[in-house]
C-alpha cells in the first residue's frame, strides 16, 4: 500500500521533471530517495544483531558464569520493555546518570564479573571483539521498546544537571571548523548535501533524530548505537574523541532524549 504510493509519487515527480530546473530535480531526488529507503525497510539486517543479542542475554558468561537476565535498566531487574525510551536516567546504585550502554557495562560487571575497565577498553574498539557482543545486546534491549514513545525522567537533580550540561555541550563551538552540534542540528529544514538534518533542540518527530537510533548503517554494515553515533558526530566536528560512556556523551543523550519527549522510537532503524 505504502510502496505503491511512493511509486506513484516517483512517477508524478518524473513527469514534472521534463523541462524543469534544478529545484524540481531536487524534489525528484528526494522522492527517489524516499522510495529507496522504503525498499530497504523489509529485511533490516539489524535483526541479525538483535538475534545475536537475545542469545547472549540468556547465556552464562563472564568470570561468574552468569546471565544478564537480572540486569536492571531502570524498570526493575530483567524488565526490558520500555526501559530504553527512559534512558539515560539516574541510577542510585552507581550514583550516576547512565545511558543504556554504560548501564550494560555495570550489569556485566556486577552480574557476570567482568572488569568495567576491560569493557570500556573493548568498547572503544567498536564492533570488534567483546564490543560486537555489547552492540548486539544493546540492539536486543532497545528493540524491546520498539514503537514506544520517549519519556526520559527529569525528577532527579542529577538528571536535570545532565540536561543542562548536554545543552551547553550541544551549542559549544570549537575546533578548526568552529563546529558545534547546533551548526547542523540547531534549526528546522536544513540539509548537508542531500541529507536532511533533524532539529535536535526540540522533538523532531517520530522516528527522527534521537528516536532513529540505534540503526543499521548500510554504508558499512555496522549497527550503530548512540555512543557510536555521537563518536562519529564529534569526529566530523573535528573535535578530539569523546570517551566511550563519558559524561559528555551521556549529557548529550539526556538533552536530545528529553527534547524528544513523546517521539516514537523506531529502533532498530536502517540508515544509509
Amino acid at each position: 500500500m505504502k510502496k505503491s504510493m511512493v511509486q506513484r509519487q516517483v512517477l508524478a515527480a518524473a513527469a514534472l521533471l521534463v523541462g524543469m530546473g534544478a529545484a524540481l530535480a531536487q524534489d525528484a531526488t528526494a522522492t527517489g530517495i524516499a522510495q529507496y529507503r522504503e525498499m530497504l525497510q523489509d529485511g533490516n539486517p539489524a535483526e541479525l544483531f538483535e538475534m545475536k543479542g537475545e542469545k547472549l542475554w540468556t547465556q552464562n558468561r563472564g568470570p561468574k558464569n552468569a546471565t544478564l537476565e537480572k540486569c536492571d535498566f531502570g524498570k526493575g531487574p530483567g524488565v526490558l520493555k520500555g526501559a530504553f525510551v527512559e534512558l539515560p536516567r539516574y541510577f542510585a546504585d552507581t550514583g550516576r546518570v547512565q545511558d543504556l550502554e554504560s548501564r550494560l557495562i555495570t550489569c556485566m560487571e556486577t552480574l557476570q564479573g567482568y572488569k568495567a575497565e576491560d569493557l570500556y577498553k573493548a568498547a572503544a574498539n567498536y564492533g570488534k571483539g567483546e564490543s560486537a557482543n555489547m552492540v548486539a545486546i544493546t540492539t536486543y534491549v532497545v528493540t524491546a521498546s520498539k514503537g514506544m514513545d520517549f519519556a526520559l525522567p527529569q525528577g532527579n537533580e542529577k538528571e536535570k544537571t545532565m540536561y543542562e550540561v548536554g545543552k551547553r555541550l550541544f551549542f559549544a563551538r570549537s575546533g578548526p571548523h568552529d563546529f558545534a552540534c547546533s551548526t547542523c542540528h540547531g534549526v528546522d529544514g536544513q540539509r548537508i548535501r542531500l541529507q536532511e538534518l533533524p532539529n535536535l533542540t526540540k522533538n523532531p518527530g517520530d522516528g527522527v533524530g534521537f528516536a532513529a537510533w540505534p540503526a543499521y548503517r548500510v554504508s558499512n554494515g555496522q549497527l550503530w548505537t548512540m555512543q557510536k553515533r555521537l563518536n562519529d558526530c564529534y569526529r566530523q566536528q573535528r573535535f578530539p574523541e569523546p570517551k566511550f560512556g563519558s559524561d559528555a556523551t551521556i549529557a548529550l543523550a539526556v538533552y536530545m532524549g528529553v527534547n524528544s519527549k513523546s517521539a516514537e522510537s523506531i529502533v532498530p532503524a536502517i540508515k544509509r
Partner: protein, 103 residues
Amino acid sequence: MADPMRIRAALAGDETTVRVLMAHIMETGIRKDASGALIPAHFIQDVEATHNGKSVLKTMWSGAVSQNPFLSFKFKGAAKGDKVVVKWVDNKGDSRTDEVTIA
C-alpha cells in the same frame, strides 16, 4: 563460526514467502585497505533452500551482493508447520545451515 541467519517463512494462500538475512562480510576481493593492500575476497558463493528435502531455490553469488545479504523468494506446495532449511557456503568453504518453521 558464522552467526545464525534470520529466516522468516510465511504462507499466504498457496504460496510461501521466504525472507532470509545472512550475517556475512561479503568482501569483493577488489577493495584496498588504508595501506593500499588488497583485502582478500570473502563472500557467500552458493545458497540453497530446501523444503521437505526438495530444493526450492538455488542461487550463486559474486562478491557484489551486499554485506549481510538479503534474499527473498516464493514457492508453492508447503503447509504451515513445515520446515524450510537454508544453507550457504562461502568462497573459503565456511558454511552455515539454519531452518525455520513456516508460519
